[in-house]
Symmetry: C2
Subunit: 294 residues, 2 copies
């Protein structure tokens, strides 16, 4: 019963995000750059991060409407990171979510520029569409910049690339997971709480949740990379092993990876419960991952 209502609510939020993402980016001259941005924004995906931002805002009794531009801005940042990560000079991926990657569908130069464009489109959207106070907007953009830059995904990606074909410590792997993956979840969840004007304690606890969830999600992603087919994954499977990327599964083995995901997911549920944060969506997302590694 709860599962059904989770799926229904999730779909409502996902549809809002996808409709708004499409609406926020019209096609103007020069068409190619807008088409390229929209191509990757509309390429599907679970929309986990924007949905978590909306849900946290709702859970803390914030204005749902006012959180939509920020939620979409976070999805734009996520999309930017995927476009640039897929480039030939980075992970060199031809497929993403079952479609050609941006540089394959357009060109390498357009893909670089589409990523760059999304990095400034997103904060501009927060400023122009949020209807929030200047102080809150400033705080949101600061968090956005932290996640987007050297205090976030950029440093995660640099260390990840640098770790290829190397034996790395579990501390370095933790660093990659935290910076490359968890920082975006932290942004999403903190942004929702900032818009809802949550208490310092609430924000701290939610940040803890996001960090643990980010680690769980990355290990889960590594497991999928190892056990899935191209159709299931939407991108080339086994790539991590082929490029000798250090992953949790390659260091600790598949069974330990699954156990670790279950452990981290249980911690996520505990944080929510201990703080009386009753959200069907957050609990549902965590359960989804937990079930899939069973």
């Amino acid at each position: 019963m709860e599962k059904e209502s989770y799926k229904k609510e999730y779909k409502v939020l996902k549809d809002i995000i996808e409709k708004k993402l499409d609406e926020y980016v019209p096609i103007k001259y020069p068409e190619e750059i807008y088409q390229s941005m929209k191509y990757s924004l509309n390429a599907g995906g679970k929309r986990l991060r924007p949905i978590m931002a909306l849900e946290v805002c709702k859970m803390l009794s914030g204005s749902f409407e006012k959180a939509i531009p920020t939620a979409c801005a976070i999805e734009m940042l996520h999309t930017q990171s995927l476009i640039h990560d897929d480039l030939p000079c980075m992970d060199n991926d031809d497929y993403r979510r079952g479609k050609l990657t941006n540089h394959k569908a357009f060109s390498e130069s357009t893909a670089v520029l589409a990523g760059d464009a999304l990095l400034s489109y997103a904060p501009k959207l927060i400023i122009e569409k949020s209807k929030l106070s200047a102080n809150i907007i400033m705080e949101l953009i600061r968090e956005f910049c932290i996640a987007a830059g050297v205090d976030g995904i950029i440093s995660g990606q640099i260390v990840d690339i640098d770790s290829e074909n190397k034996k790395i410590s579990s501390e370095t792997l933790d660093y990659i997971h935290e910076y490359k993956t968890a920082k975006l979840f932290i942004l999403a969840i903190k942004a929702g709480a900032i818009i809802a004007e949550g208490t310092t304690k609430q924000i701290q606890e939610l940040e803890k949740f996001a960090k643990v969830f980010g680690h769980a999600f990355q290990i889960y992603d590594d497991i999928l990379d190892e056990v899935s087919t191209l159709e299931e994954l939407g991108k080339t499977p086994g790539k991590d092993a082929n490029t000798h990327k250090a992953t949790y599964t390659s260091i600790f083995g598949l069974d330990n990876a699954k156990n670790k995901v279950r452990l981290l997911c249980t911690q996520c549920c505990d944080i929510l419960e201990n703080n009386k944060m009753n959200s069907i969506i957050l609990k549902g997302i965590v359960s989804d991952i937990m079930e899939r590694v069973c």
Copy 2:
């Protein structure tokens, strides 16, 4: 006499910018990304845009100190655009300002990431270091995003790349100059005026100045590309002609290009004079370009 004091004042501003750029970007773990950002930020250049931002703020009796973070943020954006423009998939340049380009000194993936990192480092700097009201910071970041994205340099670059090996109209050339070049000068000059809380009329007139100056500067740059040696230019000369890029000189010839620069520079001086904007620096920058095409 005025020329000497221009040179002296210019050097004072340039030294402030270079000292602060170095200070604002420390080297931390993971070192490579910080080193790569600093490499391009410290690679020299005239620092025209940040100097113009500081000077406009000073001219309109604004707080010079408070404009420094924004001026440096604008130089970071300019540097980002150069790092990405130099990439093999774009202009494919090996040299910039007499030094190896970022992707040659580091790697292509690091250069992409260093550019990305600067795009969020810059607005974060404005937020954290400016000591300005949240409203002014929001306005500055909005202008920053306009210049950085599809309403600015990105669209200029897309149309520029798309115009290679093509015969383009003078309207398209104007578009490239306005978006690829003028938009950053408009940002610099508007930012200075916003920080000084200039009047709407002052901001409008300064925007006009910046737009005309941006066109003059780009045509002047095209002329240099045609007539300079590698040593004078610090990058490969004649590249525009070799890649069949449409430039003002290739469409209208060298003499017409020189005349156009002189005409635009005269317009710049007129705007300053008509608005009683008495700035040795702004006048000096315009005169410098005018003299060099004589």
